[in-house]
């Protein structure tokens, strides 16, 4: 058994370096997950020692970009948790339909599968023409993929099942064109999307939304950072707007909780009062 590649104390050194050198602040990420991701990268790229890993990160901005791409988690799927999307269809979209214009923010959207899922729901509700979907992520590479709207065909069976369970009644394959092992989603969906990098740790609010989705992102943040991000969302949500989180995330312990009401059993909250 080799010694563990990177220890907690070494990770702290690394995070300090990255903040002073590149301005990226990972100090309030959950440490156990972060350590695991960093150890994984260290092993993957076969560094002989921590010192060399550290030196490479300090001196090579391209390698730093790889670091950001690899340590952020980019696992996502279309219509994950179909019950959640069913609630969007039946409870949330009918309310959004009353607005003349709908703005939705997918914060931490990774490769964009959730943004495309939402566009399909909006299209089926007859709302896509008056909607704009903003997808943001800290990682520029996944944003580039999201813009293309091309996903592996091998996933489509699973997505099609999710779609049916979410209350979809069309043929899911009508939304994409399959070409060899890739599925390209319809440009009528993509037209209503705007993708951009955005760092939840350091960047500000950039618009006001009626719905913000941020699912399975906050689990990687420590409590203090979570509350900063909740404040950012609160500031970016219109009164009576909705905030949707991942299935194991909650607004419950946050400082904004008392101004929000949960919608049914899903992890969706409605802003019922503005900040005082």
């Amino acid at each position: 058994m080799e010694t563990p590649p990177i220890r907690y104390e070494e990770m702290d050194l690394l995070l300090n370096d990255l903040y002073s050198r590149y301005g990226y602040d990972f100090s309030e990420y959950s440490k156990a997950s972060l350590l695991r991701r960093i150890q994984r990268l260290f092993t993957l790229d076969k560094f002989p020692s921590f010192a060399e890993f550290r030196y490479r990160l300090q001196t090579d901005i391209h390698y730093f970009r790889r670091f950001v791409e690899e340590i952020t988690v980019n696992v996502t799927e279309m219509l994950r948790d179909p019950g959640f999307y069913r609630t969007l269809r039946t409870n949330i979209l009918p309310v959004l339909a009353t607005y003349p214009f709908i703005r939705i923010w997918h914060a931490g959207c990774s490769t964009g599968e959730e943004v495309y899922s939402m566009a399909i729901l909006l299209k089926e509700a007859g709302l896509l023409h008056k909607s704009l979907l903003y997808g943001t992520d800290i990682n520029p590479q996944v944003i580039e993929k999201a813009r293309k709207g091309i996903f592996p065909v091998s996933q489509m069976q699973k997505y099609s099942e999710n779609y049916i369970q979410s209350g979809g009644v069309k043929d899911f394959s009508s939304y994409y064109t399959a070409n060899y092992h890739l599925a390209k989603f319809d440009s009528s969906l993509t037209q209503k999307m705007i993708f951009s990098t955005h760092n939840l740790v350091s960047d500000f609010s950039f618009n006001e939304f009626q719905l913000i989705l941020c699912r399975n992102v906050l689990i990687y943040f420590e409590r203090d950072l979570q509350s900063k991000v909740f404040k950012l969302f609160d500031y970016s949500l219109e009164k009576f707007g909705y905030l949707a989180l991942g299935s194991k995330e909650s607004l419950r312990f946050s400082s904004i909780a008392d101004r929000y009401r949960q919608v049914g059993k899903e992890k969706i909250w409605r802003k019922v009062h503005e900040a005082g």
Partner: protein
């Protein structure tokens, strides 16, 4: 004897009956116990309810940032890895599957070893894949105590067999003795 600070049980196919027997044995506990069980989604509430029929101890599905409480039995949620933080709270992680599994036993064993070191006891039960062995190697390197269900009596021997053949376990325990063994360990501490 040294005190046990945390017990982590990793199980896959064929481990449910052993876990139930183990819970029936655990009626008082001075440390937290965490169960990492491979399973399909959709069973959450059923499983928690089933476990609760076997023991008086509180059973809780892990939520992120929960502080580990002595005497509580924690169950990993389906489809998330569970990690432990230095401040003795849980973190959830939705990254790639490890050994085709999420939750992965390796991920939790490793992360627990980083925090609990020699105070950690890990138990690897019946299963049909190789999850857990790498984690046990790491646990041992960090001074923790490792147990495998005897492959000769396990319902599905492959998983504990991997651990045994890689020499990652301090002790191999037959299925029927396992509940009593772990209970005694929780009461009297780790031998040596």
């Amino acid at each position: 004897m040294r005190p046990v600070d945390l017990i982590v049980i990793g199980g896959s196919a064929g481990s449910l009956q052993v876990i139930l027997a183990l819970l029936a044995e655990m009626q008082a506990l001075s440390m937290p116990l965490l169960i990492v069980l491979h399973r399909n989604g959709g069973f959450e509430s059923t499983l928690e309810g089933l476990f609760a029929t076997r023991t008086n101890l509180p059973i809780k599905e892990v939520e992120e940032k929960d502080i580990l409480q002595p005497g509580t039995i924690y169950l990993c949620p389906a489809d998330y890895h569970v990690l432990l933080e230095k401040d003795h709270t849980f973190s959830l992680d939705y990254s790639e599957r490890v050994n085709y599994s999420r939750p992965s036993i390796d991920v939790t064993f490793r992360s627990a070893a980083d925090v609990y070191g020699p105070g950690l006891v890990c138990v690897l039960l019946s299963g049909g894949n190789a999850d857990g062995t790498e984690g046990l190697l790491y646990v041992k390197a960090k001074g923790g105590y490792t147990i495998a269900e005897d492959p000769a009596t396990a319902e599905v021997p492959y998983m504990p067999q991997q651990a045994v053949s890689r020499k990652t376990v301090d002790v191999v325990v037959p299925t029927e003795d396992l509940p009593g063994f772990v209970e005694a360990l929780s009461r009297y501490g780790i031998p040596g």
